[in-house]
């Protein structure tokens, strides 16, 4: 399966799975919402990588198109997420998700 | 799958043997040295010209006309004590100067530094029986590479300011990040106009299309993208009048206040290197790069020099004009206030470059569909003017509302 000469797309897919796992662990372990956000970006990137790898494996450009849209949506998501964090930080001094359990600001 | 990973260059086709490898190595070395020397001379040039504009003499002791002044300063800085502030983040503090320097050199790699673009040769020259271009790399994404590099250049400044563990550098860093991200959009949109006209991303390809003054992209894109690009590039470089990042009077020294010795020299080097690179990029995109100046079919030819080297001479002359313009800006224009900076970027440059891009795109579509160019231009212009009117009305309403209920951001 793993020949030493050329990395096949399996290698990339395995790497993307590992990256996704690391991202998941980060979201579950860290308490700083900014870093949780970064871990979500890691997971998105893992998925992007697998899309591109599969796109060249099955010789279909659509995988790259999906990644393009994921990039745009990720940008929008980060903008909204950081806006939320900024407006939460106006009322609190510490930045951990444990303090955000109440819905009322 | 690995047909072309690094660059499009006929040199790297087929088996990579020793001669091509050596040529590439020599090119890398040459680009590096040219970059360093150009930076050194740029610092001297700026000090000398600005001294002239302010009725001073400027550097005149080290070497003829003080031309070795930068070298002397560099050696002096090198032997100064290297301080790392007590409250700094040591790793980032050490890393930041390199993060500033490396993008500056990388961007230089895609500038065509010479070559013969006449008679459809496309800038190819023959070295030791191998065809190649006088440019270090021509990546498939071409100009987007320059855009990417300029967008990561902000890290050096941000991290330098943050890691110093001091107030003023931090303020400089926050200003830098907001400013550079804001102007990146205008830079990209005016670049889009050039790409629309050229139909290619490769810098060599863009140069190749600009054979005479009528074909220069500054004319082909209708002047406005050039003006926007020049302003946005000045802001990206943090040069006056957009030097809020290191405004001496407000922030002591800006992001590099806590830096001393060789680390400070690296920031200094990166800043001037970026100026040289950006001037070269402007020349490449809008003024035909190494192409000789030609009006119609008559070409201004410098006699006794082979065409390939003549390209380098032309590039040098054109770049010098822009370096002079940058020094001129610095000597003439007062610094922008921060809100003026943001207003200019978001309310004028971005809508302006977007509107011009749409106009060019509409003309392009009209030409392909065989519509009357006049009508297309008029209709698009009317739509754009209506859009701009709406924008102005929105700004007016927002200002009135802000004054009424006293919202603040």
């Amino acid at each position: 399966m793993f020949s030493l000469a050329e990395p096949t797309s399996t290698w990339y897919l395995v790497l993307s799975a590992v990256l996704f796992g690391i991202g998941t662990i980060g979201v579950m372990v860290r308490r700083n919402p900014l870093i949780m956000f970064m871990c979500i970006e890691l997971m998105l990137n893992a998925v992007n990588l697998s899309f591109v790898a599969l796109s060249s494996q099955i010789a279909n450009i659509d995988g790259q198109v999906v990644v393009f849209f994921v990039l745009v949506v990720a940008a929008a998501e980060v903008v909204v997420g950081l806006g939320i964090i900024v407006s939460i930080m106006r009322r609190r001094t510490t930045l951990t998700v444990d303090d955000m359990s109440g819905l009322k600001g | 799958m690995s047909a072309v990973i690094f660059a499009i260059d006929p040199l790297l086709e087929g088996d990579v043997l020793w001669t091509p490898l050596l040529i590439v190595l020599v090119k890398v070395l040459l680009v590096f040295v040219v970059g360093l020397v150009a930076t050194m001379l740029m610092v001297w040039f700026e000090r000398k010209v600005i001294a002239g504009m302010q009725n001073r003499v400027g550097p005149n002791k080290a070497g003829p006309w003080g031309i070795l002044q930068t070298l002397a300063d560099g050696i002096k800085l090198f032997f100064k004590e290297d301080l790392i502030p007590e409250r700094s983040d040591r790793f980032m503090f050490r890393l930041a100067p390199y993060l500033a320097l490396v993008p500056a050199f990388l961007a230089f790699a895609i500038i065509p530094l010479g070559g013969d673009f006449r008679d459809g040769k496309g800038g190819l020259v023959t070295l030791f029986g191998h065809q190649t271009r006088l440019q270090l790399a021509d990546p498939p994404v071409g100009v987007l590479f320059a855009l990417a590099i300029s967008s990561i250049a902000v890290y050096g400044i941000m991290l330098a300011g943050w890691s110093s563990g001091s107030k003023y550098p931090l303020l400089g860093a926050v200003r830098a990040s907001a400013q550079m991200v804001s102007y990146e959009a205008a830079l990209g949109l005016s670049l889009g106009a050039v790409l629309l006209v050229s139909g290619t991303l490769s810098t060599a390809g863009i140069v190749n299309l600009q054979s005479s003054i009528g074909n220069w992209n500054i004319v082909a894109t209708g002047f406005v993208p050039f003006v926007i690009f020049l302003i946005a590039a000045t802001a990206e470089l943090n040069r006056p009048p957009f030097d809020l990042v290191e405004a001496e009077q407000e922030l002591v020294g800006g992001f590099n206040t806590e830096y001393s010795s060789i680390r400070f020299a690296l920031f200094f080097l990166a800043e001037f290197m970026n100026t040289v690179t950006m001037s070269a990029l402007i020349v490449t995109l809008f003024f035909g790069g190494p192409q000789p100046i030609a009006i119609g079919n008559t070409t201004l030819d410098i006699p006794f020099i082979p065409n390939a080297i003549e390209g380098t001479v032309w590039l040098l002359l054109k770049v010098l004009v822009f370096l002079y313009v940058y020094v001129w800006f610095r000597a003439t224009l007062p610094r922008f206030r921060y809100d003026q900076l943001m207003d200019l970027g978001w309310k004028i440059l971005i809508p302006g470059s977007l509107g011009w891009f749409m106009l060019l795109a509409a003309q392009r579509v009209g030409r392909d569909a065989g519509w009357d160019q006049m009508v297309v231009t008029l209709v698009t212009a009317l739509v754009l003017i209506a859009g701009y009117g709406l924008l102005l009305a929105a700004q007016h309403v927002s200002r009135v509302n802000r004054e009424k209920d006293g919202a603040s951001f």
Binding site: L4, E6, W11, Y12, V14, L15, V18, L19, G21, I22, T24, G26, M28, R31, M38, C39, E41, L42, N45, N48, L49, V52, A53, S56, Q57, I58, A59, N60, I61, V65, V67, F69, V73, A74, A75, A76, V79, V80, L82, G83, S87 | M1, S2, A3, V4, I5, E13, D89, M92, V141, L144, S151, I152, W162, L170, V181, G406, A407, S408, F409
Partner: protein
């Protein structure tokens, strides 16, 4: 050659990812994220997705992470977080087990089902000397023909995001002074 590129890029990706999860200082975590993003961009290039690699660097490294850093510095939350306390008992071991489990399941799926996937599409253009921007041309053709509605919708999405963020981050004086 490609093996070398893969190994270096994979090392960048994994070191960066572990850095994001383990570094206590948010700025260090953000810089680790940049390392990962560059690693991914290199992998995109080695898959002939040149345009995506450029966009990855411009959008992710040049805008998104800069935005992160901007918020971190502006809010002054750049102090190192104390990672030695574990707020919920056994949270970390459980999280690691779940994460590793997800990875393991996905890897198992990849390894077992790989045989069924052969080239089925119309092909991905490779960059050659004759057509250096083949990838960009092909991508543009697909985005602006088959996916044009999705493309327009993303622009609406961006607009909504911008307006929403401005409304959220806007603070009125009447709230602040209690009028």
């Amino acid at each position: 050659m490609e093996l070398f590129v893969f190994v270096v890029a994979a090392a960048m990706v994994l070191i960066g990812a572990l850095g994001v999860v383990t570094r206590s200082n948010p700025v260090h975590a953000a810089m680790s994220l940049v390392l990962t993003l560059f690693g991914i961009a290199v992998m995109f290039v080695s898959h002939n997705a040149h345009f995506l690699a450029a966009v990855q660097v411009i959008v992710y490294a040049g805008a998104i992470v800069v935005l992160f850093l901007f918020v971190i510095m502006l809010l002054g939350v750049d102090k190192a977080e104390d990672l030695s306390v574990e707020p919920i008992t056994n949270q970390r071991p459980l999280a690691v087990i779940i994460g590793v489990g997800i990875s393991a399941i996905v890897i198992a799926a990849i390894v077992t089902s790989r045989s069924g996937l052969g080239p089925s599409g119309k092909g991905v253009n490779e960059t050659t000397l004759e057509s250096p921007d083949a990838n960009i041309r092909q991508l543009a053709r697909v985005i602006f023909s088959d996916n044009v509605f999705a493309f327009e919708l993303t622009s609406v999405l961006l607009l909504v995001a911008v307006i929403g963020t401005v409304v959220m981050a806007r603070k009125t004086k009447s709230v602040g002074t209690g009028k």
